[in-house]
Symmetry: C2
Subunit: 465 residues, 2 copies
């Protein structure tokens, strides 16, 4: 019989494109190994690979410290004896929280409720109702191993056969959505965000994408909105949010609200409003699933179901119980995120100073990098008020495009590979996120001054004429 | 437009049956809440719910302690400052391991290589080659968030359309396989294990299941073997393993070897041999994926690919990178599992005594429970040499079966619900694992003396005639 070959695999798997960790990431990893194995004599023109392809602020060489109280709770939960062995190493409120969690969970080696530890779901519900001014039900909240796990679950439940069904996803998008849709053979239904309007969401564009499906026997089941945007950092106006909810109502779509960057807005004039609040304010019955996750340290997140029938929620419970329970370390991390130290707690001052420093550094480095990018010839970059990424548009000369085609690469991937080869900076080419025909972008996460010098040299090598 | 309803979901999702955490587990959770909220006055005839449905030895009230050195490494990785704040709380080898892992990984808040930290994959490769006497390649090893994640990945890649395809799974099986297959619309192709031969695997039965698919246009893509068995604890003879490999060769099947209980064999006459070793000894080119995972504490595992083409391995890499990387806590746990303290290390004595105690307790409680079960009227139980479960067969009287049908339940579920109501012990009815028509089983994990008294009373209530 035939051995296992690519042809024998599920065709949808072959189609998955996942640029964030594609060819560039593999090459970056090879360079990292080379630098490590030949310190000082790698022959490479850089001493460090900078993973600017994923938001990974705690990688070595970057300066974002972990949040101390979160790590202290985690350490105490991992090794309970520490409270006796090192009683002075932990503030009183950290010890009290670890005690409370231990009382509820027992050992971190145990399995929890498949939906997540009840006490932590209660903390999340309090966090949501404080944020929105509307109550939240712990029974409608699912803890997950991160936002990806929640999005996958929802998509795999919604995509049904034999009629093709799809999910409307923004372009630009985090490639998770296309990759996840490919697995149960769902169809990504793209709608473009408007770069000329700071990557805003345009309702007419979404509606056009819905109408287009009618000619092809594809049923749109859900609309994914990423707010604040990833990679764009765009923050929606409430008026736009209300129109989006209305549109979901009109077309019977489940609204998947990816709100994982809700705490990252670094411009005073912009303000995050949850879709949960909008839906409640409108007294709408639109089915909404809202995702949130920890951006710091451990991998964990949750989703909240609003206007989802109880029998569908029970079906979710069945599906998540196949994986027994979300990892407890992540659940504990979520507890720290939604219930940070309060004024008067011994941990408060350090927590406040650490989080303020991180936000200020993020705002500052974003602003500085945007300024530098916009100074460069042929480069324009929207100044992102939220999220952690920048997404500059880069004009590439005809010569550069020809050289790329000759090398069998997309021009933006060609540019990004050259950037990696020259500087050790690993970015994600825009073709991985979706972009308009003939435009070239890349996504980067951190302050990478090396980009400026590289762009000058690249432009010299492939001049306009 | 119609709101979100059960009917609008993916039909395969509705079909998933997941007994391990079904109606019984939900009821057990309700009892747990009731006991907690009304201490001493719950009105229930027990003071504690015992989750004997999942192997969860670290739940409160059971006596299996966590392995100290594993927890120490985890705590040090979570909160690096502890090595200065509490230098005497950690043995030297634990500190050295945390330093080595930190040097490789950086902060536990960072993302790792999507396939898993290279150093840890190297440790796993060393563990495998020491175990088998054949080399292992770190590039063919994937770290995962647990065995379930690896099995899901493989199944979702192998199930292809439009022709129906399936995976041969043992009955008894861990319900993960059926649940996972339902998602990409794969077909479970059951083959029965032989209870009269201590749940052994019979080649003719598998071959009959393969041939049966030919009448139905279903393509069998893989054969799942669980060794040691779950829930049976049966351990395969090498001769049977060789025949299984030969059968995979004949029918072009990928061999999925679930070997997560390889370290749990507690009878001197039984010995675990990996399929990797068998395949290498036979110089076979059968495609093999071997799964292993941590049974203690954190959630983590790995799988190793043998005879899998490089382009298929690259496709796996693409798929796992959608999830960025397996949680680092689990990866660190795997490192401790495959590279435990060595003789002479400061941690060795405690580690040895802790693991020996756990194994002895497991062997002792299994033996004691089997003896008690087999003394009961109408109950027979195979004495399991491996794994963590017992799976007694229980005769149910005509009266009991009638009462069950009247209540709209499977008779074994009816029995298990009555057991929960009377004793607080939560087991899994055999109908969740598959069993022969007219036979009733349940799976339990721990020493539950309460079962004996319950069975007597149940038999009195529903007498034979």
């Amino acid at each position: 019989m035939a051995p296992l070959t690519l042809d024998s695999l599920r065709p949808a798997v072959l189609k998955v494109q996942y640029a964030v960790r594609g060819e560039l990431a593999i090459k970056a990893e090879e360079y990292r190994v080379k630098l490590k194995e030949n310190p000082g004599q790698s022959g490479l023109p850089f001493n460090q690979v900078i993973s600017s392809n994923i938001e990974n602020p705690q990688q070595k060489g970057l300066d974002q410290p972990p949040i101390t109280c979160v790590r202290q709770v985690a350490a105490l939960m991992e090794y309970r004896e520490l409270q006796h062995l090192a009683p002075n190493a932990f503030p009183k409120d950290v010890i009290a929280r670890a005690d409370e969690l231990y009382e509820e969970i027992g050992s971190i080696g145990a399995y929890s409720h498949s939906q997540g530890v009840p006490l932590i779901r209660k903390s999340i519900a309090d966090f949501i109702s404080d944020r929105d001014g509307y109550p939240a039900d712990p029974n409608h909240i699912y803890l997950t191993g991160g936002a990806s796990a929640g999005v996958s679950l929802l998509i795999s439940m919604l995509i049904s056969e034999p009629m093709k069904s799809g999910v409307l996803i923004p372009i630009l998008q985090y490639p998770l959505y296309t990759a996840t849709l490919a697995q149960p053979s769902g169809e990504p239904l793209p709608y473009h965000l408007d770069e000329s309007d700071d990557w805003n969401t345009d309702l007419a564009t979404i509606e056009a994408a819905i109408k287009e499906t009618r000619n092809r026997d594809v049923v749109p089941k859900a609309l994914a909105i990423i707010n604040p945007g990833n990679p764009t950092g765009a923050v929606l106006e409430e008026e736009t949010q209300r129109k989006i909810v209305q549109l979901c109502k009109t077309y019977g779509l489940v609204l998947l609200a990816d709100e994982v960057y809700q705490a990252n807005i670094h411009r005073a004039t912009k303000h995050f409003t949850s879709f949960k609040r909008i839906v409640r304010e409108m007294k709408s019955d639109v089915a909404l699933v809202s995702f949130h996750s920890i951006s710091e340290g451990v991998r964990g997140g949750y989703f909240e179901c609003t206007n989802i029938p109880e029998d569908v929620i029970a079906m979710m419970y069945k599906m998540v119980s196949v994986g027994l329970c979300p990892p407890l370390q992540g659940q504990i991390g979520v507890d720290c995120m939604v219930r940070p130290p309060k004024i008067g707690d011994p941990s408060y001052a350090l927590w406040k100073s650490e989080t303020d420093t991180i936000h200020a550094a993020l705002a500052q480095r974003t602003h500085q990098m945007v300024t530098e990018l916009n100074k460069m010839e042929g480069v324009t970059c929207v100044d992102s008020p939220g999220a952690l990424y920048l997404y500059p548009k880069t004009e590439l000369s005809k010569k550069a495009v020809e050289a790329a085609r000759k090398a069998g690469k997309e021009p933006d991937a060609f540019y990004a590979l050259a950037l990696l080869d020259a500087t050790g900076i690993c970015v994600v080419p825009g073709s991985g996120f979706g972009q308009k025909e003939g435009e070239w972008h890349y996504r980067l996460t951190c302050l990478c001054p090396g980009v400026v010098k590289f762009h000058e040299e690249f432009s010299k090598k492939y001049p306009k004429e």
